[in-house]
């Protein structure tokens, strides 16, 4: 082979890189990584004119994850995304490495949690429950998303511990837990971990599903901007009424309900002069 390359004028290093890449692709195939993903990556590598080494750097972290029985598709998707958006490989590779590290850290939290007998039992007893391996992989993916966004693994661990409580598990299911983990990075988990945990736990207990979880971060953000309780904003969101804020009907609830009669409550109603008693007296001027 060396002689052939020398005859064709191909440098040894290029040959070595090609062989290394072939081996890497072979390893990827063995781990079960989707062939179509690798093919798409290869096509984009050619279109971008990346070297074999640059390409190998991009997929190596995912292959290693897959070889360690860890989910890798989200990492490959990020590589595809970066190439599709024209992001330089010098920025793609570090981010992919960061995602791979976060995935390992997430597995270190998720695997012990899923091995807990009470978690296994409650989730296993549920109708339409997700197969254990599938749930584990998705939970690792969503937890790694949070860790990649600088949420400490300890916070994820504590959140899972709270969710592992029977009172929570009995009112939700694996898919909802994954949805909750998907949005954790967009809640103030770093600044207010306890509050965020209580937020998510109550949502799971309330039977929130993916559609509702998707609205939580925005509802929280809007509530803070408008000095409102997030829960009220969230429930409007659940009712498909969340549109950047609060419908007028809620702001003016007091008016619609006739509680203030066109002014703030607390003043004495006029017109009680004809009552059996003489009615009320106003503050500074009296009422009758």
């Amino acid at each position: 082979m060396v002689f052939v390359c020398a005859y064709l004028g191909i440098p040894d290093t290029a040959l070595a890189q090609t062989e290394a890449l072939d081996k890497l692709v072979e390893r990827a195939n063995k781990t079960g990584i989707e062939q179509s993903v690798i093919e798409d990556l290869k096509a984009r590598k050619e279109a971008r004119g990346l070297s074999n080494e640059q390409f190998a750097n991009m997929i190596e972290p995912a292959v290693q994850l897959a070889e360690n029985d860890l989910p890798a598709n989200h990492v490959l998707q990020k590589a595809l995304e970066g190439l599709s958006k024209g992001v330089p490989d010098a920025r793609i590779v570090p981010y992919i490495n960061r995602m791979a590290n976060a995935t390992r850290q997430a597995a270190g939290v998720v695997d012990p949690w899923m091995a807990k007998p009470e978690v296994k039992r409650v989730l296993g007893e549920q109708k339409n429950s997700m197969p254990g391996q599938s749930m584990r992989n998705r939970l690792i993916e969503s937890s790694s998303r949070a860790i990649t966004q600088n949420i400490p693994p300890e916070n994820i661990n504590q959140l899972l511990t709270d969710i592992g409580n029977k009172s929570v598990l009995s009112k939700t299911n694996g898919a909802n837990i994954i949805s909750a983990m998907d949005i954790v990075s967009d809640l103030p988990m770093r600044e207010q971990p306890e509050l965020t945990r209580s937020f998510i736990v109550r949502a799971l207990k309330g039977g929130f599903e993916s559609g509702e979880f998707q609205k939580l971060p925005m509802a929280l953000n809007m509530a803070q901007k408008r000095s409102q309780i997030p829960a009220s904003n969230i429930m409007r969101g659940v009712g498909n009424q969340l549109n950047k804020g609060v419908p007028a009907r809620d702001i003016l609830k007091n008016l619609f309900d006739g509680k203030i009669g066109g002014g703030p409550p607390g003043d004495i109603p006029r017109g009680m002069e004809d009552n059996p008693g003489k009615g009320n007296r106003g503050n500074n001027a009296g009422n009758g």
Binding site: R145, M218, I251, D257, G258, G262, G263, G266, R270
Partner: protein
Amino acid sequence: MRIGLIIVMLLISISHEILAQDWQTVFSVDSRIGYSTNTYLNPYYGEWDRAESSSFGVLSGIGQSTWFGDQDMVELTGVAVLEPFFSGLNTWKGGLALGRYQHQFSHSVSGGIEVGGSYFNASYSRSMFWAQPTITWSPTPFTQLKMKAGSNFRSYQDYMVDSVSTSINDRSDLYALEFETWPNFNWQISSGLYGNLDSFPNIQQGFSSFVAASRIFKRGSKVRFKVGLEQYQNEQTVTTGGGGGGFPPAGGGPPGTTTETIEETNRIFRLGIEGSIPISQQLTAFVSAEGLRYNTTATDQNITDLQVSGGIRLTLQPKSRSEKGKVTPDWNNRGETQRVEISYSGDGRIYLVGDFNNWSRPGIPLMNIEKNQYRAELELDAGSYEYKVLTIEDGEESWIKFSSETYTVEDGFGGQNALLLVQ
């Protein structure tokens, strides 16, 4: 002159600053019919008149604009009301304007001011103006305490007192303490205490209060139960014997008379239930029933009144200016497939690009189903999918920005992707 110029420049710069942020406008029309035995229970009325039991209608229109930045919010609201009675009472009509400014001091504390004014008339007219500084404290995301205190000025014209047309002007310095908590996402408990600052903290001299529990269902239906208590005390000077003496007594009254001061307490117990159910994104149906029981210690007589009503509310939210040119993908699960609809007024064709197609460009085309309305259907397994919307016009590809209503996440490369969760 110079000060005026400075103020105008300041207002212009503030409004530019505010408009540079985000804003939202809501219009709402409320149509209701009902029956009550006391206008005190009628929407917008709030005046005690139980001379005639009457059916009534209410047509009210509301416009509200809100501007908000990261820490500040300004909200302006205008309301027009027409409330005809199907009896001898004249139609109660008028309007109301509210302004609210709120500044976020920290995660849990905000403060601001609420100002408002209203004018209504029927056989007499009533105008009010009030201003109330507010402080709001949210120790947790599920609990909030709001304190307000300020002055309310009332003016009545052609108001009949003992069959004499009278003009009355008064001022009350009022306080409000409002508490709201959510034990979970389905239950809301709220309470309020309102009264006169002059009597505070001796609140039994006059207060209005309520406790309410609301059960909120998915898709926005709501049932609310409420109990309330109002109490007002006054002192009356009663003169007996001696053939009269007038009011107030002068110099202790004529010989042989007895003057005593009686403290009178009026109480109103209120009990109500209301429910609302969204019929569509724009329409909501609602019903309510409320009763009150009035008792006065002067005669120990009880009075009971009732109000029932129901109607329809139409709410419209025009697209805000800052959102134009952005898209809000609307995903719906349709059995095996996920349907996405996007409203987009720009030129060119639009495509979905994301985790579901390995980020291949141009991506999954959206069909133009009607003017500015696009649709696509995807078969997706459960999972989370990051994606973007691409437009191609004259061979030029560009990403379309997402509106602030779309849930987006950082893409790790300095941009934003929308996130779709499929269950």
